[in-house]
Subunit: 275 residues, 2 copies
C-alpha cells in the first residue's frame, strides 16, 4: 500500500507535539502538482524551499531525498497534490532555536482539487478580504508556516461561488489572493504586485514573469491599488495547482477575457502541469 | 507516573501531521508558571486564551477541563512550566478553516527555567534585535502560534549573558522583548508600548498597569522609540515565568535600579508566582 504521509521518511501520520513547526510555525512548506508520479515545476519549488531554509537558518534536505520520498508517496497515482513541510524539528521550550537543529520533513499526498471546469474557461469571481497582510521584508516571498492571516482571510468567504479573496497590506496595496498571485493587464502592460514586504513569490508567477516578454507584453512588478485593479482591462490568478484562473468578476467590476494574453496563459498552464 | 504531555486529554506525545496548528500556525498558546500543582495568574491566562479563540473563530475548551488536565500534569510536582496549545485541529488541505472545527488541545509540562538569580536582583543586559515585527491589528495582543519573527529575533542573540532582545515594529517603534513586555520609568511616569498593531498583551503586564496607580505612578500605554528608552531613568521586563527583570544595561546605556518602583515590582512578582 502506498503511504499517504511520510515523516522523516517513515510512513507515519503523527509527529511530536514538541515540534517547533507546531510550537511557533517555525518552518516552511511547498504545495506541488503531481502528474505521472512526478512533481511539476520541481526546480522552482525546491529553489524556494532552499531560499526559505537559508532565511530561517535551517539545513535543507538533499533534493534527491525529497524526490525519492515524493515518488514513494505518489507512485502510480492519479494526478494528486504533494505537500512538503520542513520544520526546525524539536528543541527546547522558548523561541531560541537550537544551535544544531534536526529538521523534520513531512511529505503528504492529497487528492487533486475538483474546481469547476468553468473557472478555468470562463473565469472566476473574487472579492476583497477585510483581513490585511502584515509587512516584514525578512519573511516576504518565502513560503513559511505562519499563515494565520491567510486562514482568517479565507474564513471571510462563505459563498462557494467565490473562488478567491484578494488581500491588501496595511497600507492598502494589493498583494495577491489568499492562495494565489495576481496579474492585471493594462493596455500592453502586465502588472503584478511587488512582494517586498509580504506575499509569497509563487512558482507559476515566476513563469509568467519569465515568459511575458516573449509574448510582446511588458511585465512589471509594481504597486497596485484596488482602484488600479478595477480599472484594468483584465486580470488572472496563478498558483501551482490551478495554473491560471482568469478573473471574470471582482466585487462590482467585470472583466472580459479577450484582453488576456492567451498564448502566454496557454504556455504557463502547460508548464504548471508538466513534470 | 505523571504524564508530560496530554493531547486532548490522552497521555500522548504526538499529534496528526494534518493538524492546522502545524500546517498554518492556526492556533493559540499560553505559558504559565505552576506552583504547588496550581497555575499562577490562571484567570488572566484563560481570559487571553478565550479572547484569542474568539478572534480566530475557535471554540475554547471549558475552563474546568483545562484546570483538571493541568492538575493531572503537574500533580505534586516542583515549580514547573505549563504550556497550553489550542489549535483548530485537523481539517482539509488549504487555508479555509472547517465550518465546525474540532480543536486540538495540548498541555505540556516543562522544567522551571534556571535563570541566574542575579538577573532578578541586579538586573539584566539586553540588546536590540534587527528583526522587526510586522503589524496587523487583527493579530495584535493575542498569543497566536505565528511566532517566526520572535524565533528569528532570538536567534540573533548568541551571547548567553544577554537575557533578552528588544524588538521594534516596521516604523521603528519599540514593542517589547522577544518573550517579555517592557516598561520604562521616566520621572513619575511609567511607560509601556501600545500594542495596537503587534506584540502580546502579557498577563503580568496587565498586573503592572492595574497596580501602578496605587503606587503613585501614572501608567501609560504609549509610543516609544529606542531613544526614549535610552533616555529613561529605568526599565524593567515582565512575563509569566520571570515575573519582573530590572534592566541594567541596554546596548551602551546603563540604568540604575533606584528609580524603579520597588513596592510595585515586589507586589507584581508575588502575584506572578501565586496560584
Amino acid at each position: 500500500l502506498t503511504p499517504r504521509v511520510l515523516v522523516d521518511g517513515v510512513a507515519a501520520g503523527r509527529l511530536p507535539a514538541t515540534d517547533r513547526g507546531l510550537q511557533y510555525g517555525d518552518g516552511l512548506f511547498e504545495t506541488l502538482a503531481v502528474r505521472g508520479s512526478a512533481p511539476c515545476l520541481w526546480s522552482a519549488h525546491f529553489e524556494r524551499l532552499s531560499l526559505g531554509a537559508q532565511r530561517l537558518g535551517l539545513p535543507c534536505p538533499p533534493e534527491e531525498l525529497l524526490l525519492r520520498e515524493c515518488r514513494r508517496l505518489t507512485n502510480a497515482s492519479a494526478p494528486c497534490v504533494l505537500k512538503i513541510i520542513l520544520t526546525r524539528g524539536s528543541g527546547g521550550r522558548g523561541y531560541r532555536p537550537p544551535a544544531h537543529p534536526r529538521p523534520t520533513r513531512i511529505l503528504m499526498r492529497h487528492p487533486w482539487p475538483d474546481h469547476p471546469p468553468a473557472w478555468y474557461e470562463e473565469g472566476v469571481d473574487v472579492v476583497f478580504c477585510r483581513m490585511r497582510l502584515g509587512s516584514n521584508p525578512a519573511l516576504a516571498r518565502i513560503k513559511h508556516l505562519n499563515r494565520l492571516e491567510q486562514v482568517l482571510a479565507r474564513a471571510e468567504i462563505g459563498d462557494p461561488r467565490i473562488a478567491e479573496g484578494i488581500m491588501c497590506d496595511g497600507e492598502g496595496r494589493v498583494i495577491g489572493g489568499t492562495m494565489s498571485n495576481l496579474f492585471a493587464v493594462a493596455g500592453d502592460r502586465l502588472l503584478t504586485p511587488r512582494l517586498d514586504g509580504c506575499g509569497i513569490a509563487g512558482t507559476v508567477r515566476a513563469q509568467v514573469l519569465r515568459l511575458a516578454g516573449a509574448g510582446g507584453l511588458e511585465a512589471e512588478e509594481t504597486d497596485l491599488t484596488p482602484g488600479d485593479l478595477a480599472a484594468a482591462d483584465g486580470m488572472f490568478l496563478t498558483n501551482s495547482l490551478i495554473g491560471v484562473w482568469p478573473v471574470r468578476r471582482m466585487e462590482s467590476s467585470t472583466f472580459g477575457l479577450e484582453s488576456l494574453p492567451e498564448r502566454l496563459i496557454r504556455e504557463v498552464r502547460e508548464l504548471a502541469l508538466t513534470p
